[in-house]
């Protein structure tokens, strides 16, 4: 598979271009335990530069088969470029990308058995829904009756049966998103790429789609690579999350790892706005000269024997109240249940936390 020139020849096909049989994939998806055999996607020292901008900067990454993988980061952090590198819309400036063990440099997007759900859905406005969904099958040369049958099944899968005759312009944002999903899934891709697919939906629909996507991924066993800037989305859906910043991966791990044990100030701050305690303060507590992260919900208000802090403000968030505190020179946030009394602005309070809630960060930038 890795014999260099193999991917350039026209008969480069297996395993990534032949549409895979859905049954083994489904079976693979159910085996959630045990280590996966192959990497669906792997990056080795991949960079993508646009002029002087390093959109993706020396990224190493491996995504296991059947995994729900999220790429999380602020806009401009390189996560979408990584997705486009997998899809083949961008070519790496340096480094290698493998899809199921095959190097994919110079393999055009139309020969990769990878499908994308675009941020703007990119449904073709001159075709009705059924022809949109059946587009990939039509390109493969499947007959009309057969491909329409498959497209209808895909529409049922995304809970839009009977919508085939409509035009994309007649559907709501959520429905278009489902059509885009059906159009990608009908080709039975080995890897499904999702580029902020829920970004344009309202909160309720977004939460519903998050659950549906997760269920669908388990059912089909297809590797999902999901790009988002919404940390809640990444944490709730993904098996593993990669946090991006400035074209580099800051941390890869399970949602619990990322949330509870951020390894850098950026991750602590971006994923759920952890408090970052300065080395001077941490040294007093633990004797170690390092930054530490402390989750806002770990902070408790106590009667005495805590650290003294001044209340600087509070905001009501519905289920909880966020209280701003000044702890020495540091500004930190605490989250308290909404039914608990909120201390007054400017008052002095005692705060405390369990020792194991404090996580030293290896990389303190």
């Amino acid at each position: 598979m890795r014999t260099g020139k193999g991917h350039l020849s026209p008969d480069w096909a297996p395993p990534a271009t032949i549409p895979c049989d859905p049954k083994p994939a489904r079976a693979g998806g159910l085996q959630t335990t045990g280590l996966p055999m192959t990497n669906a996607v792997s990056f080795s020292s991949v960079s993508r530069h646009f002029g002087t901008v390093r959109a993706v900067d020396d990224v190493d990454l491996s995504i296991a088969e059947g995994e729900f993988f999220a790429m999380l980061g602020p806009s401009g952090s390189g996560k979408t470029t990584c997705l486009r590198l997998i899809a083949g819309f961008e070519q790496p400036t340096s480094g290698h990308i493998e899809i199921f063990g095959t190097k994919v440099e110079n393999v055009p997007p139309y020969r990769r058995n990878v499908n994308t759900v675009f941020q703007d859905y990119a449904l073709f406005p001159h075709m009705n829904i059924i022809d949109n969904v059946a587009y990939g099958l039509m390109i493969q040369g499947m007959g009309k009756a057969e491909r329409h049958k498959a497209a209808n099944e895909a529409l049922e899968l995304v809970a839009l049966p009977g919508y085939g005759d409509r035009r994309p312009g007649q559907l709501s944002g959520g429905q278009r998103q489902r059509v885009a999903l059906a159009r990608a899934l009908v080709n039975k891709p080995r890897v499904l790429l999702l580029d902020e697919p829920l970004g344009a939906l309202d909160l309720k629909l977004r939460e519903q789609m998050q659950e549906e996507l997760k269920t669908l991924q388990r059912k089909l066993g297809i590797t999902f690579v999901f790009v988002t800037h919404d940390q809640g989305e990444a944490l709730s859906m993904a098996d593993r999350v990669a946090v991006f910043n400035n074209g580099k991966i800051q941390q890869v791990g399970s949602p619990q790892d990322i949330y509870q044990r951020p390894q850098s100030r950026f991750v602590a701050d971006f994923v759920g706005s952890s408090n970052v305690l300065e080395p001077a303060f941490v040294k007093q507590l633990t004797g170690k000269d390092a930054c530490a992260s402390l989750r806002p919900e770990a902070i408790r208000f106590v009667q005495s024997d805590g650290h003294l802090a001044t209340v600087t403000g509070s905001s009501y968030l519905g289920g909880t109240t966020r209280v701003g505190l000044a702890l020495g020179d540091m500004r930190i946030n605490a989250l308290i249940p909404a039914d608990q009394a909120v201390p007054e602005n400017g008052s002095l309070v005692h705060i405390s936390w369990q020792e194991n809630e404090l996580h030293l960060m290896e990389d303190a930038q």
């Binding site: 499908n115 994308t116 990119a122 001159h126 587009y135």
Partner: protein, 323 residues
Amino acid sequence: MTAASPVTETAQGTAILPGQGGWTGSLSDTFWRNPKLLLILMLTPPVLWLGIIYLGSLFALLAQSFFSIDEFSGMVQYELTLKTYGELFRPANLDIIIRTVSMAAIVTVAAACVAFPIAYFAARYARGKWKAVFYIGVMLPLWSSYLVKVYAWKLILAKEGILTWIFAKLHLTWLLEAWLAIPIIGGYSLSVSYTGTFLVFLYVWLPFMVLPVQAALERVPGSYIEASGDLGATPGQTFRHVIFPLALPGIVAGSIFTFSLTLGDYIIPQIVGSSRLFIGQAVYAQQGTAGNIPLAAAFTVVPIVIMGFYLWGAKRMGAFDAI
């Protein structure tokens, strides 16, 4: 509006600002209350112009086509008849129509083929400075006189012109001569052949094809093209199934220009080409020297009818579905 206070101070003062005063102020208020009044005032002059002077005179001309001319006295007989339309089907007149429609069709197809890559480049890749270069490059020929361009082409295509010289330098004179030896499209030189007429039509009308196609392609987001490739379509398939159908309204819009302009033009075939007539020249000759206004009017109806059928066919083919 009294005592201007800093924004930071608490807002005070009247809730309703005083009017601007004067007749412009009260006019603005009147128009705001009666938006239809403004619309009527704005639309009446152009509608009168278009309706009476432009369409009215056109219909007056078309009405003439239902009259006939007395062949002995040369006087127009004001009786409704289809006799003049019958004259269109005389072999000589039918030749003129077929010649003009074929030329218009070939010019349109060629203009679409030449314009598409230019428009595609401009819409997809040209940014900033290159976009400006594109617009100026396409529009610049439109800013100079039509006659100057046509006469310039006559010189370029002449037997002693630069094209003959280039062919000679490239040792391709045999090719040019072989081309000119072909019946119908050939001739003594390019400047007196249909090939020459075709080249000048193509050049002169090209901007009218490039601009609408470019506008149509501009509205096709890059993600459609990426999505098509992502779903397995090769660039050729993407062109056939996505880009072309979405550009079709632009191509049809452009072809309406190139087709109807070629159908009606009477100057280019007179300066460059064989001495055989096109519809525009026939109209010119019939209503001028021949004094046969009814036949001239009947000739005028031909392009209108052809364009009607053309648009109907384009609509049937779904050319306007993506608008």
